[in-house]
């Protein structure tokens, strides 16, 4: 209580005086999507430090962090891109960069912020310092020159960015090492890629396919080999269930040598060996997986689900390859984020207006924080990871 009071007083003082010295390695953001607001959180003591509002439509908002962990770049659905100072707890800069946006990425050197857009379809690069536009790369395809919705944007080593074109069925890699002259490579991927990921080592890009079974795989060290299909027959012979929410992919899918991927339209998590890219297992789960996220040490993989099963979360033990525990952490669990070394996981329960913190060793709840319709949770440790 006393420490909270002191913290509060320090916060008040920080508005008019010098900021108290502190790092940002244990900070993060929780999106309060309906309120157009974010909560700045701290995972060492499981608390909300403050809030920043005025961020527009934050449905499907996502966040990347500056490499010093001080600034958060929030991509809103309405095309808003906001740079937030986590220490001063305020918007540093804010622009409207598109009509309809789905997320973004930060370059290897931290100097470029890149947004992926549905409308107008393409990617745009901005100066991380000023948010001035430095490159506009439309996702133009086909003979009529139409533009595709862009999904699955990921930073690659060498100031490059990989992304997928939902409408065109392509993977593209744009090299922004000279932002005045971006160059783009195009690869056929398959029908309707819905999201993508780069493996944590930066070597492979994967695009999950919605319009057909399978995942497109591109070896970024040997792009001349083109993209190939893996897990191509995982749904063969059975009717796909209606997909009430698109699954999400990111480098968190990799645990040890295996990647754990959501099966589209099936109550399964697919396990693929990243050395051979062969399927090694299918793990039955409670519903249609949305996020399949490995604890940083790779021993557990946590899974949440689309409606109507979004009150459940399951924990896969990667040693036995089975679901070890089924939890009911709250109503409408939208997202999960591990602390940097994985001793805790934060879960947002939208319809409970709560964020819960779980101890990942004994799977007990250690804290609950109030947040209005929380969705994404993003910790600054992402700043140091390829693909985040």
């Amino acid at each position: 209580m006393l420490t909270r009071l002191i913290g509060f007083i320090l916060l008040l003082l920080s508005g008019c005086a010098q900021l108290p010295l502190r790092g940002t390695g244990d900070l993060g953001l929780v999106i309060e999507r309906a309120a157009g607001r974010v909560a700045i959180v701290e995972s060492s003591s499981n608390r909300i430090l403050g809030r920043v509002d005025g961020l527009g439509d934050l449905s499907h908002a996502s966040v990347v962090f500056s490499r010093d962990g001080r600034y958060a770049y929030v991509f809103g659905r309405d095309g808003g891109l906001s740079k937030i100072d986590l220490l001063r707890q305020r918007i540093e800069r804010r622009i409207m960069q598109a009509g309809n946006s789905i997320g973004g990425a930060i370059s290897q050197d931290g100097r470029l912020i890149v947004a992926q857009n549905y409308e107008p379809g393409g990617i745009k690069a901005f100066d991380a310092e000023t948010l001035e536009l430095v490159a506009d790369v439309p996702a133009t395809w086909g003979s009529a020159g139409q533009r595709s919705k862009v999904v699955g944007l990921a930073d690659l080593p060498g100031q490059r960015f990989a992304y997928a074109l939902f409408d065109a069925g392509e993977i593209r890699i744009t090299d922004l090492s000279n932002p005045q002259q971006p160059t783009t490579q195009i690869f056929a991927a398959g029908r309707q890629p819905y999201d993508g990921l780069v493996t944590p080592d930066g070597r492979y890009y994967l695009a999950g396919l919605f319009g057909e079974d399978g995942v497109a795989l591109l070896d970024l060290w040997q792009t001349e080999q083109g993209s190939r299909k893996i897990l191509a027959d995982y749904g063969r012979g059975s009717e796909r269930l209606p997909v009430f929410k698109m699954p999400h992919l990111r480098g968190w899918a990799v645990a040890g040598r295996n990647a754990y991927l959501p099966a589209v339209g099936r109550h399964e998590v697919l396990v693929v060996d990243t050395a051979t890219w062969q399927e090694v297992a299918r793990i039955p789960v409670k519903g249609q997986p949305v996020f399949v996220i490995a604890r940083p040490d790779g021993r557990q993989v946590w899974v949440n689900f689309a409606v109507p099963d979004n009150g459940w979360v399951q924990v896969i033990d990667t040693l036995s390859g089975r679901v070890a525990t089924t939890l009911q952490p709250g109503k409408a669990v939208l997202h999960m984020e591990f602390t940097p070394r994985g001793e805790a996981v934060w879960l947002s329960a939208r319809d409970d207006n709560k964020v819960s913190v779980f101890d990942t060793r004994n799977l007990s709840r250690t804290a609950t924080l109030d947040a209005e319709a929380p969705s994404g949770i993003f910790f600054t440790a992402r700043a140091a990871r390829i693909g985040f």
Partner: protein, 104 residues
């Protein structure tokens, strides 16, 4: 074992019905769950915009059919396991006139 038999049981049971009179629940479902593709403001995303301007020309019955049975070749799923015909028609009608906000 117990988990899998429970799962089988759940799959055999009829899906839960959102009653037509529970309009707050329908508004929430449209804003939050349809919103994950169409945007919470319904201005579109991976899914098409569901604004009155976008839907003006569309007959309510065909919109309700899209809600219930989905749209082949697109990610739009069939919601008939979660919504009744009355629910779908109510949603389609409200979309056309400007969908209500959630009460907070």
């Amino acid at each position: 074992m117990r988990g899998s038999s429970l799962l089988t049981l759940l799959m055999l049971m009829p899906a839960p019905v959102v009653h037509a009179d529970d309009r707050a629940a329908l508004v929430r479902l449209v804003r939050q769950d349809c919103g994950s593709c169409h945007g919470m403001t319904l201005k579109g995303g991976l899914g098409t915009p569901l604004t009155p301007q976008a839907l003006r020309e569309k007959p309510v019955e065909s919109m309700a059919a899209t809600i219930l049975y989905g749209r082949a070749g697109t990610p739009m799923p069939a919601w008939k396991s979660m919504l009744s015909e009355a629910d779908a028609e109510w949603i389609a009608g409200r979309l056309q006139e400007g969908f209500p906000e959630e009460s907070r």
